[in-house]
Subunit: 229 residues, 2 copies
Amino acid sequence: MKVSTAVATPSPRSLRSRDKLMHTAERLYAEHGFANVSIRMIREAAGQRNKSAVQYHFSTRDELIQAILARHAAEIDRLRAPMVAELESSGEVSRRDRITCVIAPSIEHHIELGTPSWYGRFLAQAIVEPSLRDFTTEASVSTPSFQRLEQLRPPRGQERDPGLFERYASMTRLLIVHMCAELEGDLATGRVDPAAAERSWRELGETLVTAVCGLSSALLDQEGDPAAG
Amino acid sequence: MKVSTAVATPSPRSLRSRDKLMHTAERLYAEHGFANVSIRMIREAAGQRNKSAVQYHFSTRDELIQAILARHAAEIDRLRAPMVAELESSGEVSRRDRITCVIAPSIEHHIELGTPSWYGRFLAQAIVEPSLRDFTTEASVSTPSFQRLEQLRPPRGQERDPGLFERYASMTRLLIVHMCAELEGDLATGRVDPAAAERSWRELGETLVTAVCGLSSALLDQEGDPAAG
């Protein structure tokens, strides 16, 4: 059953229900794992008495998950846009500048979400689920700010192994997604003091930038092309 | 319901059933995701007519998954043991030697499994599921060969940030687990030619060693302590 939600402007009440279902789903998935949460559990935890509420708003479980992913991607895009604009207007863009511009917006988004948040652990599961993996990556790299950032990368020369850059990109994504999920989990369980959340997020951001710069220079630097990554 | 399987020596037939359930579960979980596979689907796909076969052999879903993880960890331990012995008997052990000894046994295990295999994608899901994450890490680092390898690491000095080494270890684990899952998936779907499987695994192994060396020197090197990682 495919129910389009785009035919008519939905009522404020309908939008609130949709929103509540998304937040509830994200939280339950993050805390219990995709495997242990049914559509029914989401509906009940969201206080929805209409038994087909999830189907009405999202058709399928995957569409519900994709809507959550797309919303976060849009918020991260909003945070990245001014950072990219600043790079675009500056004369020289270093590798570290570009890598910071990949990582910092996600970190800032986590800080905005507050503690506890659920997005990080939710995303970490989406990116390893076979049916969602491609969508999850695409939702992030297809945003306007990410595309503009890609334009700032110096053109890559002839490569000995053309698959290497793709691997570097995968590794970068993995590190960001899963390390953020780890800190989010540590904050939620109190393993890391929630009072120090903002500082912990920024420290993780710095560590990730350093780590990805290290990856980049180890994997991509060849003689005469040290700025390629 | 907790049924111990250790009270009596199980029959060969019982061991075969147990084995078949483990292989079937691993394959189904890898292909469809933990979320989309029920105990019933596993039992039926394994050709088990006894409706409580999974409960009889494993009590719970998590114990079934843990048994699969423990078996692979033991096989990787078997592959790592001689590599560690060689390092122990050699005079000098470089950082790259140690990192190779972390990564190469997993790579060799994947090569032994053949194509298609399912362990990599299965492991990538286990390591992000809240209830299984700690067990998954522990199953690997608690093996005898991994513990002996840790002994070969030079003692770390005073650290500015004691959490940094833990982060480096997490990142290393993430890269190995998820990059192996990615190649396994690419081989299973034919995106990478299965005829080149062995070469592709070894190339990934080399790339991972280079990447982790890069991470290590970016995150852990401080003045006067370049071999710490």
